[in-house]
Amino acid sequence: MILNLKNIFTEIGETTIFAKKFFKEVFIPPYETKEFFKQCYIIGYKSLPLVAITGFIMGLVLTLQSRPTLVKFGAESWLPGMVALSLIREIAPVITALICAGKISSGIGAELGSMKVTEQIDAMEVSAINPYNYLVVTRVLACTLMVPILVFFADAIGIVGGYVGINIHGDVNFYRFLTQIIQSLEFLDLFPATIKTFFFGFVIGMIGCYKGFTASNGTESVGQAANSAVVTASLSIFIIDMVAVQITDLFF
């Protein structure tokens, strides 16, 4: 147990050192623009279907689940606003981030892990190409920028899902539905929620890269790298979320 705890702290320390390098390298040329856009495509565009499906289902289910309670209090008209608020503030960012942890973090962990194990990272290093710059900076940057966009996308699809959910029990005009949502939203609902998604994206990319880069030799460590990337990234997302909510609470 104590050994375990020590391992956890060592791991956190090492990840932090690994991540610190990012802020140094990101400003140093050469800028790997081509690889960066390729990663944006893989991380962002290729995740759209998954995020769309989960976003839609979240909106739909949230509406159906909340409806009976609100009806009991005679507050059914609050339904659109409430669903949108829960989605934008909490559910879409966290669920999307978790989906990305499962898809992107593990993908990066496995990819870089196998590159490490088959000495491809060493090969870059000895041919005087900076593997951190080429592999890590591009992926982390792409994640940090793409995850917030994916979350926006999940927000939008989730709201459509909510509209479908409401329509199961009666006709509501989509325009009226949207007006209700916009009226109930404030700037402060959007702002902190968006900020935290950048952190989610950063952590998803960074943990995937760290686990891949530190994969030990042997093919089974590639699987381990992917697996522990998902676990660590998911846990980190919850912790960041908790901290973000506390901070938001303090200031607003």
């Binding site: 990819e111 090969a123 290093e125 000895v126 041919s127 005087a128």
Partner: protein, 258 residues
């Protein structure tokens, strides 16, 4: 044994200073996994140095120390007269470009085609080359290993021998002055092994490179070696030409040649 350590290298141009000089190299992994215990090694200009030794005796560790992939605990490594252990990253990279490293596995970039494997390395160092010039150099390097037709293949489509050759082509494209081969023929059939060995010799003659060749393949050693060293327990145990070591008084050394 100590006498052998201090023997002068058996090459004709003793007057020239060595291009790689390792002094008293020590490396321990973890707490007590001591691999190198004061290794001394010299690589002369225009020389093919073959390194023999049992699996796990630290042959790969040694050449990884030379290019800065592994940091030794103690000792001195001079490449082209520069001490690579206490220079900046940029200076180290300037030396790395002049050294080719052929990994045991080939270490081709899986996600890139053969062409991209070669052009990636080249374009990172010569950013002002046009696409045509890069293509020309890529084809030249591929032709020098006899695999020009594989240019559009992916690494997963290549056989073991082809992977080694492409790895070599990727190394050659930067026109290195030293090439470090880590078991270039291991895992290949006899005929392919012979082809690779001949390629190593060919490259040395054409490009005037010096090489360290780690191998277990005595046919390869016989063909390529100007000088052979045998690693044992973290130091050089024996040194000489193929013919000398074949008749060494030490039975353990002779056993490599049977």
């Amino acid at each position: 044994m100590t006498e052998k350590l201090h023997k002068e290298p058996k090459t004709k141009d003793n007057d020239q200073s060595p291009i790689i000089e390792i002094k008293d190299l020590h490396k321990t992994f973890g707490k007590d996994n001591t691999i190198l215990k004061g290794l001394n090694l010299i690589l002369n200009k225009d020389e093919n140095l073959v390194v023999l030794g049992k699996s796990g005796s630290g042959k790969s560790v040694t050449i990884k120390c030379i290019v800065g992939l592994i940091e030794p605990d103690q000792g001195e490594i001079k490449v082209f007269g520069e001490n690579v252990l206490n220079i900046s990253k940029n200076e180290l990279n300037a030396i790395r470009v002049r050294i080719g490293f052929l990994f045991q596995s080939g270490a081709l970039y899986d996600s890139m085609s053969v062409r991209e494997n070669l052009s990636f390395t080249l374009s990172k160092h010569k950013r002002d080359l046009s696409a045509d010039e890069i293509e020309k150099e890529v084809m030249e390097a591929l032709e020098s290993v006899g695999l020009a037709e594989a240019v559009d293949k992916m690494p997963s489509e290549l056989s073991g021998g082809m992977r080694k050759r492409i790895g070599l082509a990727r190394t050659l494209i930067l026109k290195p002055e030293i090439i470090l081969y880590d078991e270039p023929t291991t895992g290949l059939d006899t005929i392919t092994s012979r082809e690779i060995s001949e390629l190593i010799l060919d490259i040395k003659n054409k490009q005037k490179t010096a090489s360290i060749i780690i191998t277990h393949d005595m046919a390869c050693a016989k063909l390529t070696a100007d000088r052979i060293i045998v690693l044992k327990e973290g130091v050089i145990h024996a040194e000489g030409t193929y013919e000398e070591l074949e008749k060494d008084e030490d039975e353990w050394v002779r056993s490599f040649f049977q």
